[in-house]
Structure formats: structure tokens, C-alpha cells
Symmetry: D3
Subunit: 177 residues, 6 copies
């Protein structure tokens, strides 16, 4: 492989895609040595649970619309979990354009890509406690204000797919008579 | 789901993406009633065979670069085969943004999406015999001129991934001493 | 599809099939608008655990024998779990006769079938605390009276397969020397 | 396991269930030493192909209705193919009530169940060339008379699911412009 | 099958292989009626987790080297978990030479092989609390002395694969900025 | 990884293991720069077919016994096929000790390991037409002399598992009445 294009990978579950993700991607886009960015939508097979309410397709739509104005070439791709850590790097590589750099703070991801010879870069911590997905899903369930924590394009997607209603329905208990 | 956006699905193997595909996508992009286009890269799990030499990631790179100038919002996504036809529509829907129209000349795809209530539209036949993938892979193997049948961006991707050399290596027989 | 037959789906794990299930099925059989009933034996791939001691085949035998006298046409079928909620409805539909109504109190099942356009009906609560499977398996383990909570045909099946002995063997701890 | 009930297994693809199958089952039902019959619908995951047009659920519906009057207790169950012959017997056993006898003329099935210690009985040849599935599907495609080769209840199921139309749609070629 | 060779199965996860395992195998090797020993490396698909840090290949290397001097013929084989207990015995049998005896203290393993007609023998308790894998992995993480609890050949393998470093990297939390 | 041990991989289906395989392994064992040999039993999940009659466990037993006298440390391991060529190298690596050299004449195997940076060495052609598996299985079926083409230990294993009888049973046609 002889190429001068340098691609980086950014991996997340994006349940939903929020301002914290956006800030991290803005950070990567501004780095001098990255030319193209691969955004991997992990746990792609999951949906309709409290932890993973949205389908891979829905999450891809959120991200694609949020990045519409980005100048860098981006690839937004679903990656299903694979129950064998030793195959994870090969699994991701087979579904993505070739890349050299991996952005992640997950220590398992760091270890797997390091063993495979990739350059692994930590992510700067961007107001994690305010933006993280768990908190946003909780606000959605409580009927509180969540829209300010996500890009407006993401809120529009959630409207289109009736996402808040789905989350609330799943959260109901089936224990009552 | 209450949305006024109309999305269409276009499904192919793209081994490789060629001018015939490009002409079909140009045709869809010009239709009045399609707002966004989902391009599904089928048989995503296959690579390194004579029929499917390129990985899903490589094919996605080809298509994304070829469509860089397109005004319509497009989603280019890998779809693995699933050995149960009766799950195929649900499988694709879970990995893609919601869509209503399916462009395909494949009668199985037409039947499956028709049974599921989708609008299925046939594709106009665009010089099929000149552009089809089998013929282009054959030209690659024979060392003949193939670049004029694919977008220039696709030829550049094939250079980056050393695609022609891979195809030739796989085509060698292991029967000699 | 042009048919006047209306089929309903009833989904459970049936570990084991008990009088509570029987009461619910009696309730469905008496509804005016249901002609045939599909009984789906969920988590069909599980057996030999404290939560799921009996195989799908054993559970199907329990149910078939318990329903021997029923006038309504019934189908008793194994359904393996599928680790993708977005495929669950298609998965069940491919293994069952066509149906229109789903009886369930499980909110995930309700949501998945509602999104797919099915009529979902809640089940009346029939002495849940007395009859539920967990409690019956506990009685079996403790050597207490459990037979009165299941149809006599089910007790006969459990005898034939030596089911109580299996449950007790699995429950033993392997921590002693 | 201490039981006096003797169950037998009969395995087929049933694409569709026809008079030949019915004759074989009538033969088994009349044997003195079989008390209950398990009918396994093989290749359950396949549908929507020329060789396997009907889903497992549809085939189960055909068989259940055709056997409505049978006095013997029968179990009609879907069995997915498993790509490991050495697990096939255990796979079937886990999804079916316990059985001791296997009726089959397939030599692989005979070998696998023989190695596992089952009694394997050959089936009498019942007008194979007239009734076999391939021929009936061919008649359906040609628009010729096929209804006399299947029980009337099966013809009714095929009407309900619009089965002939599906078969014809799949059989169309997608090679024309 | 007419053979006078008697083989036994010993099943473990071996994370890592330690002196406790070695003592148990020494015990089996000395039994009068066992001629050959099959050592099944369970949960073979797992690696790179705190509970299962080492790959199947790495564990097989540990055991093979530790048993280099053993006079008995041994087979050291990877066995992936299978999410269906009812197939587990057939799964193991298909990947191993024929065996008749199973050594295990795990009650599920005992039940599954007993139901399948195997002779199941309990293992003598060999200083379990001192040698067990959990404790050794904890020592590795704490930087305390662990080498005396494993054969020297195993320590050499862990050096070659940089195993302690992997374990420590995985154990780091990703919660800090 | 800092090791001075050099391991090589030799991959085959071994249906059955024969003198041609033995000659190739003798050749590898004599090379100056290989210290240990990993023998991968491919298509491990297949058995009971005309092309793949013997289980992985049976083939492992054949090879282990045939190599009993070998001085080099060998690992004989089952490797199931994986329907994704792009994962094949990672799949094998996760189940084997670390290796650097791959012996193979198969062009796909050569390409996959070359792309992954391994040294690939062709095998010398050792009387291929006399020894190859297809021919030996044909002799077994015809009742002709096959024992001289395999090590005597392999013939003993085939006797123990009644292998020839299995092959002949599978080869029977089920077309007769």
C-alpha cells in the first residue's frame, strides 16, 4: 500500500450522537496530520433497549446530517460487535477504508489496536459528565430538556423516527396487572 | 413516523464500482421524488475471491469518492449477506435510514421488498454488457485497459490498495509443482 | 394475502408450562375474533440452566399435551432468541403461520410489534404470583409440592424426562472438594 | 428416562407438503409400535428461492392442517440446517420430544442417527416420481394442474399466502433491460 | 467402534495454566485405566478481558510446554463456548478423539455428560484456593509474585507474549480525562 | 513480543492424513530455521461428507499419532472455516501459538498471509497425484488397497473409528425404493 492519505478511526456507540461527540470530531478534524476520518458506529446490531435504543441506521443518519458541513472526507459505518476480541481489529479493518490512527480512551480498544501496530491517540476529555449518552437518555425518559445537548440535526432525526416515544415505551415495566 | 423526506435504496456488490453504477445513480439523483439515497454495499463480508476481490471498506471508499460532488445526501453502507431471505428486508432496514423506494432489477429483491410493502422501481438498463463488473475484473486479470470503465477516483483507490495485484495473485492456480 | 382466518401469537418461555399459562390461553381461545393460535416457545436454544432447565422439545411436548383437548387449531413452535431486536419480528414471522394479533405484557415485545403495525393486546393478569415459573422451579428444587401448579399432563412429561432430577443436579454447587 | 411411549421422527423439506408425504405419514401412523410422531420441517431458514419457496411457518401450516384428522399425537417443528453434520442429531434432539425411531431414506441422515444409536427405518417408496416436490413446483411455474398432487388443505394454504405468485416472481430473470 | 484404548477428557479455561491444573493432570495420568488424555481449552474464543486475558493459542502453548515430559499421549485442543447447552457434548466430541471418561467438578458439565451416558469422575480438590486462576491474575495485576504458582514453562510463555503487560493495560480504567 | 523461537504454520484438511502430508512435514522439520510447527486442521467443522468424511477430532488423532516420534514440538489444532476471508489470518492467529512462517501452495492463503506481513513459503511437490486425499478416499470406496498410502498409525485410527464403513454408507444413493 503506497498512499499519502492519512486516515483516522473514531469509534463510538452514539446513543445518541451528541455535542460531546461533535466536539471530539471537531478536535480530530483540526489535527494537522489527519486527512480523512472513519466514524465507526459500534454495537450496530443493538437497538430497542434502554442502553441502545436507536438502530445503526438511525445513528448513521444522525451523524451524517450533523457532519454535513464538515470539509474533511468522512465515512460513517456500522460495526457489529464480535464476540472474539482477537478478531476485532481485523473485523473493523475489513469494513472500513485503510487507516493508521485510532482515537480512543477505551483501554481494550487501545490494547487491541496497539498489539496490531496502530498508532493510538487518547481523546481530550470534553465535558464528559454533561454530554454523555446515559445522561441524555435519562433526560429523554424524564421528559426534561435534552435538545440542547445534541446538534439540531440530531433532534430532527429523533423527531422523524419518533425516538423519544420508543425509549419511553421500552422503559415501561411489564410487572403491573 | 411523520416525515416529508423521501429516501430510496440502491443495492449492489460494486466489485468494483464502475461507470454503469454511476449512470444509474445519476439517474436516481435526477428523479423528482427522491430526496436522499442509501447505497447498500451487499455481500459485505466477502473479499479476496475472483468474484468479490475487494473488501466492503474498499468498496465504500470507491463509492464515497466517486460521489464526492453529488448534491443529494447519500449514505454508503456495508450490508452482509444473511442466509435467511425472510429476514433480509428487516436486516437492511436496521442498518439504514428509513426509506420507501427500492431500485432493483433483481427479482428476489423485488419480491422481498414488494411483500414488505415497499415501492419497487426497475432500473433503466445502462449499457450493461460494457460496464458490468465481471467484464472489468476480466480485463484487470488480462492486463488490458480497464480504467476507462470506472470513475478516475475509483482507479485511484484501486492503486492505493494494490487491488489489481491482489486479483492476479488470487487467480493463480496452485496446481503446479 | 386474502384470508378471513384471524391468527394470534402468544409468546413465552414456558419453564415449565403452568396453570397460569393455561388460564391465559383459555382466555384467548374464548375471544370472539381469534380463529387460530400460534404459541411461540421463546429462548428455544436454552436448556440445562436454573432459569431455563428444559429443552425446547420438552417444553413443546408439555404444551402440546396440555392443549390436546382444545378445539382451536394451535401451532406450538420453538423460537430461538436473536441478538438483534430489529430482526425479532421478521424472525418470528418466518417461523410461524401469518398472524395479526400479538398477546403480550412485555413492553419490548409490545414496542417491536407495534412498530411493525401489529395489533398488540395486553394479557389479563392471572394470579401471577402464584403460578409463575420462577416460583415453581424453586418448589421443585426445595422438594416441595409443585404438581398442583401445572396441568397433570405437564407433570407426566416432567416425570418422563426426569426433569426434577436434572434441575437439582444443575443447582448443586461445585465449590466443595 | 423411563417411558413406555415410543416416538418416531420423520424429516423432510416439504416444499410443498404433498400426497407422497401424506402417504408416508399414513404408513407410519399405521405401524404398531409408534405412539407419537415428530415431523421435522428441515431447511427451516430457507424461503423465497426456486428450490425452497415457502417459509417454515407456511410449511408448518400446510402440514398441521393436512394432519388435522389424524388420531396419533403429532408435533410439527421447524429445524434449521446446521453447518456441522456432527452436531445434527443433538440439534434435532434439543428441539423435539424424545424419540427412538427415525424414518428416512437419506443416507447421511441414516448414518448420523445410526452412529448415535437410533433405530433407522427406510421408507417405502410411494410413487416418488409422481409426487415429488421438484415436479410440483415445476407444474406451478408452468401454470399447469398441480392441485391434485397435494391435500386440499395445502392448496388452501397456498392460496392464502399467494404462494404460486411468489414462485413465479422469483423465477423471472433479471437479465432483460 | 472396537478399541481397547481408554481416553479421558479434562476441561478448563486455563487463564493461565497453573500448578493446580498440573497436579490434577498428574493425578489423572497416574490412574490405571486411562490411556490417553484430551485436554480441552474452554472459552477458546475469549481473550483480552480481565477474566480471560490469554488467547486459546497462547493457552495451548502453555499447556503443551508444561506437559512436554509427560509419558501419556495428550491432545490439547481449543473448544469455543456454544450458546446451547444441549449441543455442548456433541460439540466437544466432534473436535476431540473419542473418549469415555470425563473429569470435572462442574455440575453442569457433569449433568450434560451424564445424560449422554459418559462416566463422570470428580476431581480431587488440590489446594484450590492457592492456585486458582483468579488469584494468580490478581497477583499479576498487583505486581506481586505469581511465578511460583505456575510451571516455569508457563512463565516463559507469558514472557514471550508479554502477557502481564496486556493484563495491566486492559485493567486500566478509561474514566480519567 | 521478544522471542527467539521461530514457529511455522502448515495448513491442511487431512481427509485423511497421508504419506504426502508426512513427507511435507518431514521436509519442514528438517529446515534449519524452524523451531516449532503448528499444524492447522482446516474445515474443522465438516465431517460425514464424501469430501470431508472424518471429524476434526479424528483427524487430530491421526496426525498426533503419526507424529509421535517427531523431535520438533508440534501443535495439532482444529480451525473452522470462517466465511470472511478478511478475518481468516486473525482467526487462525487467535487459536495458535505465535508464528512467523506459513507453508502453503494455496494462492488465497498465500495472498492473505502476505498482505498481513507473514513470510510465505511454497511447499515442494511430493508425488501429489499418488498421495492426494481424493484418490485415497476413492480407493477406500472401491474396496481397493489404500493402507500403503497412509502411515500405519493412521490406518489404526481409521479402524478404531470404523471410518471406511462410514464413508461407504454416506456414498450410497438414496434413490432406490
Amino acid at each position: 500500500m503506497s498512499t499519502n492519505v492519512c486516515r483516522a478511526l473514531f469509534l463510538g456507540r452514539f446513543q445518541p450522537y451528541h455535542n460531546g461527540h461533535q466536539a471530539l470530531i471537531d478536535h480530530i478534524v483540526q489535527s494537522d496530520d489527519v486527512d480523512e476520518l472513519v466514524i465507526a458506529v459500534g454495537s450496530a446490531q443493538w437497538s430497542h433497549t434502554l442502553r441502545d435504543p436507536f438502530t445503526a441506521g438511525e445513528r448513521i443518519m444522525m451523524i451524517t446530517k450533523a457532519l454535513a458541513g464538515t470539509k474533511m472526507t468522512t465515512y460513517v459505518l456500522p460495526i457489529e460487535d464480535i464476540e472474539r476480541n482477537s478478531l476485532y481489529v481485523a473485523h473493523i479493518r475489513s469494513l472500513t477504508p485503510p487507516f493508521e490512527i485510532v482515537y480512543s480512551n477505551n483501554t481494550l480498544v487501545q490494547e487491541l489496536f496497539s498489539e496490531a501496530g496502530f498508532e493510538v491517540r487518547p481523546l481530550p476529555f470534553v465535558q464528559r459528565d454533561r454530554y454523555e449518552g446515559t445522561k441524555i437518555r435519562e433526560l429523554m425518559l424524564q421528559g426534561e430538556e435534552w435538545k440542547k445537548f445534541v446538534p439540531t440535526t440530531v433532534a430532527a432525526v429523533l423527531d422523524e423516527i419518533d425516538g423519544i416515544e420508543r425509549l419511553r415505551q421500552i422503559a415501561k415495566t411489564d410487572k403491573q396487572p
